[in-house]
Symmetry: C2
Subunit: 301 residues, 2 copies
């Protein structure tokens, strides 16, 4: 047992910080505040990847320090780091460490999924070596592909979030298909998530095996909440993708807990809507507003 | 237009080398030949990751040079590289470049899948920056999550292989679910793959948007072959996972083409079953035997 139970740590952080907010680290060079870009002139770096990585490091470390009171967890979208090659991968490792040192729970948003032997290598990579607290996982391969992640959830205090219903429009094409049994495909995934999490119950009634349920689908979210009691939800889609506090409140339990909500672009690039503010102040204000809106919608204010 | 059409390049390589073989680079330190390990003593390296990466580089570069006549493509399983952190990611980039220089088509087996903006970052990472010829992609997110990959298949000579029916036992849990329409889930994925590839037809009747169909499911493979004419198949599961040449021949078209077959562990670690041989000779002999068995099963010998 490395650390305490993942869902216990997550739900305790929600109570302590009075926040359901997860800040999504999706760094995009084209959207960085001009002040950040100006601090990293092209001529100071040997190539574009190193320059972009330096700007991302600067940007994300300032955000991480400033958002400690507002966000319980950081969700790091690895794709934006991979886009900078090994330089970016190295920064991904560094940002995970920094955020853990600051006391955040770190969710590595890697959405990996493969056969068992390969899944073992992915679990080693992101949960053991990089040391994230949790990872997002694609359920497409079924149980044997999940076992390496599940073992770490049962024994090592790690967490998983399985993709059940994603936030994007195209999610309906496969995830909503009606099965011969009379239920949509995502409900079968939910049933598997219930089974996969069976031996991972924590002290607060929640399991270490969670679900990703897009905040852009509130009706389905409400049904899924009822179908998966004790399964923590990671809800993407707030802010830039259009989900509201009232919509995501349907994914909370009766106590106003059991789910955390991610916002990335709306927080990171809040300065674009508030040109009179300092970029970091704008980000903090956005996260604080989100935190308060969610706390109120949860009936906790 | 960067390069010629992906499926044209793949099928022409099959004819030129008289081979359907894809060698899977799944490096596993515990299985490396003792001669390789002995060349990389612990005390010569600053840490385990650097040592393992050096041993993998040595092992894979010897294999890549020795297998040029036998294999048309190399499938690089990125999970084993990620398990060594940024050191491993850097080696992944290096191995892609080396294999392309040797004339292989390089399939980055990354199985990524996410919402559109994130998928764009993944496509940038693996097709543009690392420069693989093709990637494996998880279809779970639907069309908008695939568009960044599809655009590169339509316009830049890149290839995709969508996961339709994976080789592992657990694949039945979700992929085989019966739909209300009377067909199994994987047939709906196949229909989407047909649609996604519509504007990617090459000169030899095959598209740049392919499918992963496990060689361990020959009946389903035969049905899928008929359902997806013009879709190149990447067939995993040969060798260590148990698929035979006769089984995978069912995924070829009437001309004995249209599919390539991956084997990783059975080739890479062939020396374990042939203790009297040099490890590299054993690997080459295994690949050659696979090439000949497939060519014969394809009715081409």
């Amino acid at each position: 047992m490395g650390e305490a139970h993942f869902a216990d740590r997550l739900l305790e952080a929600v109570e302590r910080k009075r926040s359901h907010v997860v800040v999504g680290f999706d760094p995009d060079f084209a959207l960085l505040p001009p002040e950040i870009v100006a601090r990293h002139p092209e001529e100071a770096y040997i190539n574009h990847e190193v320059r972009k990585a330096a700007a991302y490091r600067d940007f994300l470390s300032q955000l991480a320090e400033a958002l400690v009171e507002e966000a319980v967890a950081v969700k790091i979208q690895i794709a934006y780091f991979e886009a900078l090659g090994s330089t970016g991968y190295s920064l991904y490792e560094e940002v995970v460490h920094l955020c853990r040192e600051l006391g955040y729970l770190v969710i590595a948003d890697v959405k990996r999924g493969d056969i068992g032997s390969t899944a073992e290598a992915y679990a080693t990579a992101h949960l053991d070596e990089v040391g994230a607290d949790a990872v997002t996982v694609n359920p497409y391969f079924g149980t044997d592909g999940l076992e390496p992640f599940l073992r770490r959830a049962r024994q090592e205090g790690k967490g998983l979030f399985l993709l059940v219903k994603t936030s994007n429009p195209g999610s309906a094409e496969l995830q909503d298909l009606m099965l011969a049994s009379g239920e949509p495909f995502y409900m079968r995934v939910a049933a598997l998530v219930n089974r996969w999490g069976e031996e991972t119950q924590g002290r607060h009634g929640y399991r270490a095996v969670g679900a990703v349920v897009g905040g852009t689908h509130p009706q389905q979210g409400e049904v899924l909440r009822a179908a998966m009691p004790g399964v923590p939800f990671l809800v993407p889609g707030y802010g830039a993708q259009g989900a509201t506090a009232e919509a995501v409140a349907k994914m909370l339990d009766a106590r106003g807990s059991g789910a955390v909500v991610n916002s990335a672009r709306a927080i990171l690039y809040a300065y674009r809507g508030q040109p009179q503010s300092n970029w970091l102040d704008a980000a903090v204000a956005e996260a604080k507003a989100m935190k308060e809106a969610l706390w109120k919608a949860a009936g906790r204010a």
